[in-house]
């Protein structure tokens, strides 16, 4: 048994160096050369400043922008670091609401969100993704239905014809991969950037 001690230390040490250091560092080196945009987080730069990542949702409150899904991420309370406060789309602390299906707090929250959305667009059916929180709190996408639901509000705030905005939504809709994998979706940040360009042009 004593002769197993030496390999226990040395096999462990060598494999640790290979898998824990050489492997991630080599991957970092190659990735930085071959895919520098993705390897650094798919950041979007406008006029010299980083405005976000194409893959990470951000919080939109204004009527002029399409809104993403409700986000349940939190941040430490500035007054008491032991507690947390809601901080939607906090990309340094991903997380979810984790409310169970029979939890009254979930049903009450959804009811409130439906009422708010109904005011904005009374005619349409409320899409479920606009009133449910995502798993990461950073979901960059909404369904095409959720984008179309917001068109009247955007058109009014931007003084654009609804058809133009609707076209923009369909132009920014991503279908399923090979018509099979994933779900149709619209990236909210990219859609809003296109919206800004449309207004500027």
């Amino acid at each position: 048994m004593l002769r197993e001690i030496r390999p226990a230390i040395l096999v462990f040490a060598v494999l640790t160096l290979i898998t824990g250091l050489a492997y991630p560092l080599a991957m970092t080196g190659i990735a930085q050369v071959v895919f520098p945009y993705q390897a650094n987080g798919s950041m979007i730069v406008r006029n010299g400043t980083v405005i976000g990542s194409a893959l990470i949702g951000q919080d939109f409150e204004s009527d002029k922008y399409f809104h993403g899904r409700p986000s349940a991420t939190t941040a430490p309370d500035p007054k008491d670091p032991a507690k947390t406060v809601p901080a939607p789309y906090n990309a340094a602390n991903s997380g979810a609401a984790n409310l169970g299906p029979s939890n009254k707090a979930l049903i009450d929250r959804v009811k409130g969100d439906i009422a708010t959305l109904k005011k904005e667009n009374p005619a349409a059916v409320v899409p479920i993704d606009l009133v449910t929180t995502s798993a990461s709190g950073l979901d960059p996408d909404i369904t095409p239905e959720a984008a179309l639901f917001q068109v009247p509000r955007i058109a009014k705030a931007r003084k654009l014809p609804e058809d133009r905005v609707r076209q923009l939504v369909s132009g920014n809709t991503q279908g399923r991969l090979f018509g099979l994998l994933g779900e149709p979706r619209v990236n909210v940040l990219l859609l809003n950037l296109a919206l800004d360009r449309l207004a500027a042009g």
Binding site: E4, I5, T19, V50, I56, Q58, G95, L177
Partner: protein, 570 residues
């Protein structure tokens, strides 16, 4: 449920069936010590490791020495990970300035990663430095996966050898597994993930100014290299708190699809390795069929429940299934499929929050784990877990006809059956026992995020997941308390090693037996009768042990919901 949804599921199953014999053939060569197409490149490195470590690759170990080597190997992993967590504030690769991880949490995390559980009571991006993520967690993802695989190989050798005392050399097995199987897959895989959008950088978190002028700090890091082995090795511990739901861990539909394939790849291939080594691939396919049938049934129920949605929300006029706690890019089918795969396979990564699943949809992952993680299972662990159930099933079949049971040429006798039952029964002792204890501790009850039966399910899920070395969570439960950190560590430790040791005893006992040729009285173990029998034994043992607990959790929750009852915290 939609046609496109089922098409995705069918495509997934077809790919797993297709890669099983290919990867299985390759892995068989690796563990038989034969040359492979990678040998010219890797053989010199392999020999170098044996030289440095003083390993004689021709000297084999008996089951006791093999097991001791496994345990010694874990000691190093535990010490390294614990020290890294405690000392990360003083170490390099820490641009976010993370400070020492608290003692209980460090202990829980170290046990969690050496046992291939990867339960996370911490939030990755808010707790761990890049050094811990790479040198502590990524490396342990490799080594705990390799350990699981070689432990399965030791048991398989027990079946294939006869009249010998040895079951292989652990140091050779673990080195070859890491060099020839895990690394060559993970290197291109990690680069594929970067291409799909997963970051791979040592640079600091990025401060962005959003379109509306707010500040958003975006956590990045050496993510892709960890995700590749996290999935392939069925580890499941994420770089980020939200795990594979985080867009930086799983950015696209394609990255998701490849990730779920990689979760099952090695576990499925091991059934083929077993078949090849016992000299009849149909023996492997029979095991594969048992796993496959249980898997498809789980997918059907989970997908159905999630697509049907939450009645309380449907009553508000919402349609489209239960999207609470799910990501738009994966939708209902992508989330339900992932949930079943990750819990069938002891992976524990999540791309949707199981806590927010419907009562019945969330029960399927729980059942998968309570069955002992044998539906494909963790790499290696699933295979040896399934063989334990096979031993019990063969014993039951033998009782029915009054004959000494045998399996692939080996007589199954009292010792094997006792050891198999010991390994099978210790799991419910842990997850039911600790759940019962937690219910008596007020602070543990206060950790629940949801009122009513759903809160109970959170606790049951936590101990089940840790005992089964899965690592997924009903994540609302605040597990980062002294009570949960310590009791969870015990559950993970016992769930891993109390299965490994009896299992190795079986390996040693089988290897020493003579091989007997099949006769007309031998129960055929490649046909439908065998498959049905094993499924029956798994379901009966499972059902008898955990059904009462399920009745107190998801089942009563669903019944209450049917009656229109909601639960509130006060």
């Amino acid at each position: 449920m939609t046609v496109i949804g089922w098409a995705q599921i069918l495509l997934y199953c077809a790919i797993i069936v297709a890669i099983t014999p290919i990867l299985g053939g390759y892995m068989t060569r690796v563990f038989n010590g034969e040359r492979t197409f990678l040998s010219p490149l890797l053989r010199p490195i392999e020999i170098g490791i044996y030289k440095i470590a003083g390993v004689d690759e021709r000297r084999e170990q008996n089951w006791v020495v093999y097991t001791i080597a496994v345990l010694l190997f874990h000691v190093g992993g535990f010490v390294l990970l614990y020290v890294l967590c405690r000392a990360q504030g003083y170490l390099p690769f820490n641009p976010a300035g993370q400070t020492a991880v608290e003692q209980g949490l460090s202990l829980n995390t170290a046990i969690s990663f050496i046992t291939n559980t990867n339960w996370q009571n911490y939030g990755g991006e808010s707790t761990m430095s890049y050094l811990v993520q790479m040198f502590g967690l990524t490396h342990q993802n490799y080594l705990s996966a390799a350990t699981g695989i070689v432990l399965a190989m030791a048991l398989i050798r027990g079946f294939t050898r006869h009249s010998v005392r040895t079951v292989g050399n652990f140091w050779v097995d673990v080195t070859r597994c890491t060099l020839y199987i895990l690394l060559p897959i993970c290197i291109p895989y990690a680069l594929f993930l970067v291409w799909q959008g997963i970051p791979q950088t040592l640079g600091p978190y990025v401060d962005a100014t959003t379109l509306e002028g707010a500040k958003q700090t975006i956590a990045v890091g050496p993510v892709a290299s960890q995700i590749a082995i996290k999935m392939l090795g069925t580890n499941g511990g994420g770089f980020f708190n939200a795990n594979a739901a985080h867009p930086f861990e799983n950015p696209t539909a394609l990255s998701d699809f490849v990730q779920i394939i990689s979760i099952f790849a090695i576990g499925a291939a091991l059934t083929n390795v077993f078949g090849r080594m016992v000299g009849n691939q149909r023996q492997g396919w029979a095991i594969f069929a048992i796993m496959g049938i249980l898997f498809v049934v789980g997918v059907f129920f989970c997908y159905w429940a999630e697509a049907h949605g939450n009645d309380a929300l449907n009553a508000l006029g919402l349609t489209g299934g239960n999207m609470e706690g799910k990501e738009v890019r994966f939708g209902i089918v992508g989330s339900a499929l992932f949930a079943v795969i990750t819990t069938a396979a002891s992976c524990g990564a999540v791309n949707a929050m199981h806590d927010a699943f419907t009562a019945l949809g969330g029960m399927i992952p729980l059942i998968n784990m309570e069955l002992g993680e044998v539906i494909i299972g963790g790499v290696g662990a699933g295979m040896y877990g399934m063989l334990l159930f096979v031993i019990v099933s063969i014993f039951v079949a033998g009782l029915m006809v009054g004959r000494t049971p045998e399996y692939v040429g080996k007589k199954i006798e009292a010792k094997e059956v006792k050891m198999a039952m010991l390994a099978i029964l210790v799991l419910p002792l842990m997850y039911l026992g600790w759940t019962a204890v937690a219910m008596q501790v007020p602070s543990a009850v206060a950790s629940m995020n949801n009122p009513g039966p759903h809160g109970f399910t959170e606790v049951l899920y936590a101990y089940t997941s840790q005992t089964a070395n899965n690592g997924s969570a009903f994540a609302g439960l605040n597990g980062n308390t002294l009570f949960y950190n310590l009791t969870g560590a015990v559950a993970m430790f016992v769930g891993r090693f109390w299965v490994i040791i009896p299992k190795m005893a079986i390996a040693g006992s089988l290897a020493a037996k003579k091989s007997i040729p099949a006769s007309s009285g031998t129960f055929p173990t490649t046909g439908g009768l065998f498959v049905g029998l094993v499924i029956g034994v798994i379901v009966i043992i499972g059902g008898l042990t955990f059904f009462p607990a399920l009745a107190l959790g998801p089942i009563v929750e669903q019944l209450a919901q049917n009656a229109g009852t909601l639960f509130s915290s006060n």
